[in-house]
């Protein structure tokens, strides 16, 4: 941090401009590609003069803006002067004007329209949504840029009431993002290096936010400092160095080669600092939009390492031409370096790098510290996740958790998450040792004789496929049966909307039709009915179970759902000496789940779940509505009478 303060103000201002420039270029790129799509013209962002010298569009835009815009410049015939200021000779007047017209007029128009509306959401066009960058950042920055008469960007002049309010909210939401983010990261065991990178950078940014003196422009410059810091470190451009720097920035003495284990410490520590800092930043509640924007960008860059929207790092030979774009580049470099390191680690440590990632990580978190199933956490987050951008969710490692635009539901969500924070800490610390291997994520396709299939060259000669093993035809049967009954029904018919039952759509009616269809199928299929195991489908299965066993089974599953489920199922033999494992499974799917589902259909139609063994049925009473669904008298035989009839007919 001392290193930063050594930077003098002038360079900070310069760097601020650079940041703005890179931002400008990203926006312009997106905007142009949008226009491109509409018009079918492809324009490269790299504008070259006749001499092959690249033209700095940002500079051009900046200068023209300063002179009062395109119209004014044209009417006063200032293009020559502008060409000069762009570092071109006055012969390039036409070129400069053309370049402006071609690339920037539309953009300028769009931008001023947008800002006139005062709100990016209202002035919405495809472009904004396509920007994965924070729109807040853009808004503030460009508002400055466009403020009348080229006001210096130091005069941070937020329109007080509405905007201020909005920013406070952003600040709020943003801090929540951090909370969630952190929870997510520490739970997600597979997240290794990235999480270190992410969480600690956030810590830094937040700190910067807090450290800034009250002069508003300073804050603006401080996120530049962060980039400046990066760029210094990354002159050597190695991931280890960066990690070292992260540690230093956090005021932590870390070894140079941060191992995964250490990485976790970093995560935890910096996570804490985030939390502390968030509290501080809440008090300040000042314009954090710049920060939030950058934060998002960093998150995004780190997470979606190969997202084309972010762009690729150009070859080193091209860097010189791009010096003004330095910081963006540096950040990308950091990312690149980090990723590279990860690859190396992956390859070095595991001969089979693809081994360890899990498809469904939450499955294995047996030692939950409270009774709250992990799934619940995930599901609830998923609902909120509706409009989130860059942050990933802990359990399902698929969906995202929170966002910067939704305000109210977010609050509740935060309240909900917070109590879990400590337990998550504990878990992540406790499990870091044995899970350290899982930090590695493969990103490249492994090659070698242990991975690829042996594909023979195509010689034009056809190898006869073995005609011996082509499967055994089971349907239609070899011996044609009388099909009288079957043929009556047209193929692909749906449920009949009306029937001759006394009480259509009643439980009895539906049961009757199920049994009817079952019988019909049985008649049609003949022995195939049994070979396809239809005799073991549906609630029929429960016929071979006595009520006592069913109750025991229910208890077993229920207790299994809340604690050590594996153990319970292994001990089934003691509970059900007469049942094979197969029968248990069959009962589970054909009777137990169906009952549960039919209860859910009636009672909680908005919250259905027949796939999560962990969910505790969402029942109203002590059981999942057995009493409600079944008539009291039928306790001894829970299946319906019609189904019995079907069996009787056999």
């Amino acid at each position: 941090m001392e290193a930063w303060s050594r930077l003098n103000d002038e360079s900070q201002v310069y760097k601020g401009k650079n940041r703005l420039k890179s931002l400008f270029e990203q926006v312009l790129a997106v905007f142009l590609s949008d226009v491109t799509e509409k018009k079918g013209v492809i324009r490269s962002l790299q504008v070259l003069t006749g001499g092959g010298k690249p033209l700095d569009l940002f500079k051009l835009y900046w200068i023209v803006r300063g002179k009062g815009g395109y119209d004014l410049v044209s009417s006063k015939n200032l293009w020559g002067c502008i060409a000069e200021r762009c570092g071109l000779d006055s012969g390039a007047v036409v070129f400069v004007k053309l370049a402006y017209v071609k690339y920037l007029t539309e953009f300028d128009h769009w931008l001023s329209e947008l800002l006139k509306d005062g709100n990016l959401e209202n002035g919405e066009s495809g472009v904004i949504r396509r920007l994965d960058l924070s729109s807040e950042e853009l808004e503030t920055r460009f508002r400055r840029l466009l403020s009348p008469r080229g006001q210096k960007k130091k005069d941070v002049n937020f329109s007080p009431s509405k905007n201020g309010c909005k920013e406070e909210l952003i600040c709020e939401v943003n801090s929540q993002v951090d909370y969630e983010m952190f929870t997510a990261e520490s739970v997600n065991k597979t997240n290794g290096d990235d999480s270190v990178f992410l969480v600690s950078t956030e810590g830094i940014v937040e700190k910067v936010l807090c450290k800034v003196p009250d002069k508003s422009y300073r804050q603006y410059d401080d996120d530049e400092k962060f980039f400046a810091g990066d760029s210094k470190i990354n002159k050597s451009s190695t991931g280890e160095m960066f990690q070292g720097a992260v540690a230093k920035m956090n005021g932590m003495a870390e070894k140079e080669n941060v191992s995964v284990l250490d990485g976790y410490d970093t995560t935890v520590a910096s996570g804490k600092s985030v939390i502390e800092d968030v509290t501080v930043s809440r008090k300040r509640k000042r314009e954090s939009s710049c920060i939030s924007g950058m934060l998002n960008w960093i998150n995004h860059a780190a997470k979606h390492s190969n997202d084309p929207v972010i762009g690729k790092v150009p070859d080193s030979s091209k860097w010189k031409g791009n010096t003004s774009n330095e910081f963006w580049l540096q950040a990308l470099l950091v990312r690149e370096a980090m990723l590279k390191k990860r690859h190396i680690d992956t390859n070095a440590e595991e001969s089979n790098p693809q081994k360890k990632q899990r498809m469904h990580p939450s499955m294995y978190e047996e030692e939950k510290l409270n009774n709250q199933p992990a799934e619940k956490l995930r599901c609830s987050k998923r609902v909120v996740a509706a409009s989130n951008k860059h942050i990933c969710c802990p359990c399902c490692n698929s969906c995202s958790t929170s966002q910067n635009k939704v305000e109210t539901p977010q609050k509740e969500e935060e309240e909900y998450t917070r109590p879990d924070l400590t337990s998550v800490f504990a878990v992540s610390v406790a499990e870091k040792t044995e899970d350290s291997v899982d930090q590695k994520i493969p990103t490249e396709v492994p090659v070698g004789p242990r991975y690829q299939a042996e594909v023979p060259e195509w010689t034009g000669v056809i190898f006869e496929s073995d005609s011996k093993w082509l499967g055994t035809r089971t349907w239609p049967p070899e011996v044609e049966k009388t099909k009288s009954l079957v043929e009556l029904d047209p193929i692909g018919e749906g449920r009949k909307s009306s029937c001759g039952c006394l009480f259509p759509q009643s439980v009895e009616c539906i049961r009757f039709h199920i049994a009817e269809n079952r019988l019909k199928l049985k008649f049609e299929l003949g022995t195939l009915f049994f070979r396809w195991r239809f005799d073991r489908m549906g609630e029929e299965v429960s016929l071979s179970w006595i009520a006592e066993e069913e109750k025991r089974f229910k208890d077993m599953v229920r207790s299994g759902a809340t604690n050590l489920k594996y153990k319970n199922w292994k001990n089934y033999k003691k509970l059900f000496p007469s049942k094979t494992r197969n029968m248990l499974d069959s009962y589970y799917f054909n009777v137990f789940l169906i009952k549960r589902r039919s209860y859910q259909n009636r009672v909680t139609p908005k919250d259905l779940n027949s796939d999560d063994d962990e969910i505790d049925f969402g029942c109203v009473g002590g059981s999942f509505g057995d009493i409600r669904v079944h008539v009291p008298s039928s306790k001894s035989s829970p299946t319906c009478i019609q189904n019995m009839a079907c069996i009787d007919l056999e």
């Binding site: 590609s33 949504r129 990235d194 299939a453 594909v455 195509w458 349907w475 070979r531």
Partner: protein, 430 residues
Amino acid sequence: MRSKDKISYFYDGDVGSVYFGPNHPMKPHRLCMTHHLVLAYGLHSKMEVYRPHKAYPVELAQFHSADYVEFLNRITPDTQHLFPSEMARYNLGEDCPVFDNLFEFCQIYAGGTIDAARRLNNQLCDIAINWAGGLHHAKKCAASGFCYINDLVLGILELLKYHPRVLYIDIDVHHGDGVEEAFYFTDRVMTVSFHKYGDKFFPGTGDMKDTGERDGRFYSINVPLKDGIDDGSFNRLFKTIISKVVETYLPGAIVLQCGADSLAGDRLGCFNLSIDGHAECVRFVKKFNLPLLVTGGGGYTKENVARCWALETGVLLDTELPNEIPDNDYIKYFGPDYSLKLPGGHIENLNSKSYIGTIKMQVMENLRCLQHAPGVQMQEVPPDFYIPDFDEDEQNPDERVDQHTQDKHIQRDDEYYEGDHDNDNHTDDA
């Protein structure tokens, strides 16, 4: 287009009773439900149903290493604790638990896909369906992501005995890494996978930049997507890419993995696809009228899997299924609406227009490389008796065949499009 395709559908009654263990999201019982629904709609009367043979270990070893197959054959839940190092080496346990009848389960679903490929090769059917197959994560020497034996690779290897080029399409929400990896070095198989990528989403591979190596360079296509893609954008992207791929690559057969976890509301997925949107991909691929092997794949919300695959069976049979699910033993799973169609989800679509545009552009760029690369395999002259069912009028109205080539109809259809080579050859001949 032929009025009626001959469909072979593979099903073994034992496959649905397999149980991965409590709390494991993979539930083969979904196959039971699918089959049940297919029968409830009466679709079986329009197709032939086959019971696959149980693939022999030696068949599985066509792709997998013999030691791995042997270990799978040997291991049981009771003995697994005796082999901790092998369990780790083969990535068993956790995601890929050892359960009762594990090997038999693998034999059945792999046998189904192999049989399906053989039936296609022997021209006994036009379309073969094996919903139990499609376990695309399995590696040559290891299990991965609920997959033990990679039946798709085995099926494709079988198809390669007959076809110079096979196209593999994967619409599972997860990247089809096992298949891509297996055929990373060859141009005889082109793999195209549409999947969620980023946020550490399993399996972590499938970046756009992975395009294959050596001979296989540009023959692996990855379409990385973000959360919440909807029917409209997915179908547009799918059709653009696949039609270009088929036009360029001219495959002899297509293998389509229809993982249903790309549907909205899947327990492990994160897309917004409706069942109609998912089935639209199947419908589109069917239109090419090439030998088609359709498999299942992921899908972790059972009832939606059953809905989806039943509807897609209907699509392949050119049968429109009514929305009201007929009464059957599992009807309660489909409550409270008891309807077949599933609306798309409401997760925010994080795939911006520009993002999709970028992907499309990049994929097209890679395909262009392929067009200009010396396509050695495109020139091979097939035996005379082989004239594939390739209806170029249907597929490629722009590239109508000229009279000269039409006269030489002994040649394969795909020869027509190799304009440069054709001309060269003619001058040589002259």
